[in-house]
């Protein structure tokens, strides 16, 4: 009964989404206020109905209702409650439901927060969101109904994929989807502006906090995924340039470009059509990511079972939505003029360079990700593009960007006036160069050529971004959240760059066949394989090794890597043993028994790796702070913007 209720609620939600789209877009075009008045209730109703659907599926999961196919395929009576909840988005159907629910949540938030916006504009934004929601609900109901029943019901479920039975992975998809779907809000704002044929600085001010929030969620989601891959999947790697990782990284790169381009549109009325294009691109790449994950066209660790119908549907959806938006863009963008000029060292110019490099990086990732598909379509022999391609190209684009960030932070709007900041730029660079080179050569010794460069640039970014807030504090000026957020995000970026540069050069790794009592030497560290025991978990049994790590002969950590065997799915999984130190991770993973009492063991020592995720976390925190800045909550429509007086004094 309850699953049918959920199914029914989902159908009603689709009807409401359709009416939200029609009343919003057509109502605004006809100038019919009564039609437009129906948009917000439709959005609210849709959220309630999809929540009912989510609740129904949760109910089925928590109460072991194995007559629902999706529950039977992704749950089991031995599965702990926490993972029964997380199993809701553990596979295709449920994660789509989560997707539409989050979209409904964002829509509701926009509906509530847009009361100060002009009526027709708000209706158009909500109308476009309704259209997107309708398409996704149609997709869910037509191809991937999570409430489908099975008769007779199986006695027990087939269990959640063991790889997903992990706390970080339980919250990774919701956060990532918050980011993916959040980009649809920027997309809707862009479409509404094009429908209006008008885009001014006020528009940018409305759009900025939404985009920044979505970007922050996307950052956390990606970082969590990377962290999970590190300790669960990857035998110690943190980024694999896997197609599905790339699918989340491309929208992030374009989203980063978008929040910076929006800053220029907001403050100076510049880059209007470019900003629109980025908003469309960002959401398109989110959809493309969905297509890649769902259709199974690419070889990936994330691929859900391949289903051509689903892939085709999303491809069609991609063409309609993106083609429509781009047509609208081609028609309306020439109307938009960006009047003001600027000098090549002005802040606007640096934001432009930032955008070019970020979009190039996204294009590079896109080429690498789609190359196998394109080769296949052209009848070429199957090929794959692996990490070496990205490892060679990505730094070439990113290292100059890092230098530009460190310099651009000092540039003023309109006229760069970098001369005035000459001391700060050169002083900052000198300090960074000394600190970075000392860290690299005294701390670690020679590595790849990129490492000292990356570390120096990372330190330089941190030093550069601290000047302005310290200056404000000394002059007893206010410190708006926008400035604090921007500073935090840039410090986070610097930390992440330093960490990646260090990890790439100074990771020590060895695989060995060890018997109890034997030792594996890794620089100053020795991994002593003490013993191995059998243990039993709720739905698995495991072998757990005890490995003592000795530093210069003195025990410093005990690692307990496990090799788990999940009964129901008959799958073996490796659970790494990791000890965090402030400046490194000691990592051990246990693999199969090799005979003669030996086990294969991978031992690693990765310096500073946690700072990659710490940096990403700071970026996200900075984004959330910046999005909550007071200036976005002021009744934007009431006052005309005054860029001239704000120029240079405000954060980007």
């Amino acid at each position: 009964m309850i699953p049918e209720l959920g199914h029914f609620a989902l159908i009603l939600a689709m009807v409401l989404a359709a009416s939200q789209a029609v009343f919003g877009i057509v109502g605004a075009a006809r100038g019919d206020l009564r039609w437009q008045a129906a948009v917000r209730p439709a959005a609210a109703g849709q959220f309630v109905l999809i929540s009912v659907a989510i609740g129904a599926l949760l109910h089925a999961f928590v109460n072991f209702d194995f007559s629902v196919v999706y529950v039977a395929s992704n749950s089991n009576s031995a599965l702990p409650t926490f993972y029964r909840v997380a199993a809701l988005w553990g596979a295709h159907e449920g994660s789509l439901l989560l997707w539409v629910w989050i979209l409904a949540g964002w829509t509701l938030a926009v509906a509530l927060a847009s009361r100060n916006l002009p009526v027709t504009f708000a209706s158009r934004v909500l109308g476009v969101l309704g259209l997107v929601s309708f398409a996704f609900l149609l997709f869910t109901l037509a191809t991937s109904n999570p409430f489908e029943r099975i008769f007779p019901a199986p006695a027990d479920g087939r269990d959640l994929n063991p790889v997903l039975q992990d706390p970080a992975l339980a919250i990774h998809p919701p956060l990532l989807y918050m980011g993916y779907v959040g980009l649809s809000v920027a997309f809707a704002f862009a479409c509404a502006a094009m429908l209006e044929g008008k885009l001014d600085q006020v528009w940018a001010r409305w759009t900025r906090p939404w985009t920044t929030m979505a970007w922050a969620f996307l950052s956390v989601g990606i970082a969590l995924g990377s962290w999970w891959a590190y300790y669960e999947l990857g035998w110690g790697g943190y980024w694999f340039w896997d197609p599905v990782e790339n699918a989340s990284f491309m929208p992030w790169l374009v989203g980063t470009a978008l929040i910076h381009s929006l800053a220029a549109t907001d403050k100076r009325g510049l880059f209007k059509s470019w900003t629109l294009l980025l908003a469309i691109l960002g959401f398109s790449l989110s959809l493309l990511g969905t297509f890649l994950v769902r259709s199974g066209v690419l070889t990936s660790v994330h691929s859900f079972a391949a289903d051509p119908t689903r892939g085709l549907f999303i491809l069609a959806f991609l063409i309609v939505i993106i083609g429509g938006a781009l047509t609208l863009y081609a028609w309306r963008a020439p109307l938009l003029k960006s009047p003001a000029g600027f000098e090549p060292t002005a802040r606007e110019a640096f934001l432009l360079y930032n955008n070019i490099l970020l979009v190039c990086a996204a294009a590079m990732v896109l080429v690498g990700t789609l190359a196998p598909l394109i080769a296949d379509a052209m009848g070429q022999p199957p090929l794959s593009v692996g990490a070496p391609f990205y490892d060679a190209l990505f730094p070439i684009l990113m290292l100059p960007l890092m230098a530009l960030v460190a310099i651009g932070i000092h540039a003023a709007w309109k006229r760069g006036q970098l001369g005035q900041s000459r001391l700060r730029i050169l002083g900052g660079f000198a300090a960074a160069a000394v600190a970075g080179l000392v860290l690299v050569y005294a701390g670690y010794g020679p590595g790849k050529w990129m490492t000292p460069l990356g570390v120096v640039l990372g330190v330089w970014i941190i030093v550069s971004s601290l000047f302005d807030p310290i200056d404000r504090l000394r002059r007893r000026l206010t410190l708006p959240r926008g400035v604090v957020g921007m500073t935090l995000a840039h410090v986070g970026l610097g930390l992440a760059v330093i960490a990646v540069a260090t990890v790439e050069s100074y990771t020590v790794e060895r695989d060995a066949a060890l018997a109890p009592g034997e030792t594996l030497v890794l620089g100053r560290y020795a991994y002593r394989f003490d013993d191995i025991q059998r243990i039993e978990g709720p739905n698995y049994e495991a072998e757990r090794a005890t490995i003592t790590v000795l530093r210069d002969g003195i025990p410093t950590a005990v690692l307990t890597p496990e090799r788990r065997f999940y009964w129901v799915q008959r799958q073996t999984l490796t659970e790494a043993g990791i000890a965090n130190r402030w400046n490194k991770d000691l990592f051990a993973a246990l693999s199969s028994q090799l005979g003669e009492g030996r086990w294969s063991v991978r031992a690693q020592m990765r310096p500073l790796i946690n700072y990659i995720w710490l940096g990403a976390g700071l970026m996200a925190l900075g984004g959330i702070l910046a999005a909550s800045d007071r200036r976005y909550r002021v009744r934007a429509a009431a006052t005309a913007p005054d860029p001239a007086t704000q120029a240079g004094a405000e954060p980007a």
Binding site: V367, P382, A392
Partner: protein, 153 residues
């Protein structure tokens, strides 16, 4: 410089930068792209000598030989027409077993494929698209008898 000249300089710089990036991109792409071959193609000598590539197929039943107490392993990859011996030293993915699809990265040394990476797939039902394509003409037989090869690939 007049504003116009400045703009043109900027445009020129951007065009130059993007061209260099594109050129480097092409170079990196050509060097780092890896092709996929099935055992039949390898047996026909289509695989490049001394270059890294990927091989995919099934791990032949009864072919896995481990040297006890070490990380060394040998097995045969088959598409039921031809087989290629593979050697590897290192940690195997959890789902590696006989009768399952496998993709390995490495080079040919003589008639043996020396793998430096065996791909980990974390789903038993999952078959890499290349492997299922490689096996499409020859669905895995219920027994180990290879079917008569009818058409060349």
């Amino acid at each position: 410089m007049t504003p116009r000249q400045q703009r043109m300089t900027m445009v020129a710089a951007i065009v130059a930068g993007v061209s260099i990036a594109a050129w480097l991109g092409m170079l990196a792409f050509k060097e780092n792209v890896m092709f996929f071959f099935n055992p039949t193609e390898v047996a026909a000598g289509k695989a490049p000598e001394g270059q890294r590539f990927r091989i995919g197929g099934m791990v032949a039943n009864g072919s896995v030989q481990k040297t006890a107490g070490t990380l060394d392993i040998q097995f045969l990859v088959t598409d039921f027409k031809h087989t290629v011996p593979v050697t590897y030293s290192g940690i195997l993915p959890d789902l590696f077993r006989e009768g399952q699809g496998v993709v390995a990265h490495g080079r040919m040394q003589g008639a043996t494929f020396v793998a430096d990476e065996i791909l980990a797939k974390h789903d038993e039902k999952y078959m890499p698209p290349e492997v299922s394509d490689a096996l499409k003409d020859n669905p895995p037989p219920p027994d180990v008898t290879p079917p008569p090869s009818s058409t060349g690939t």
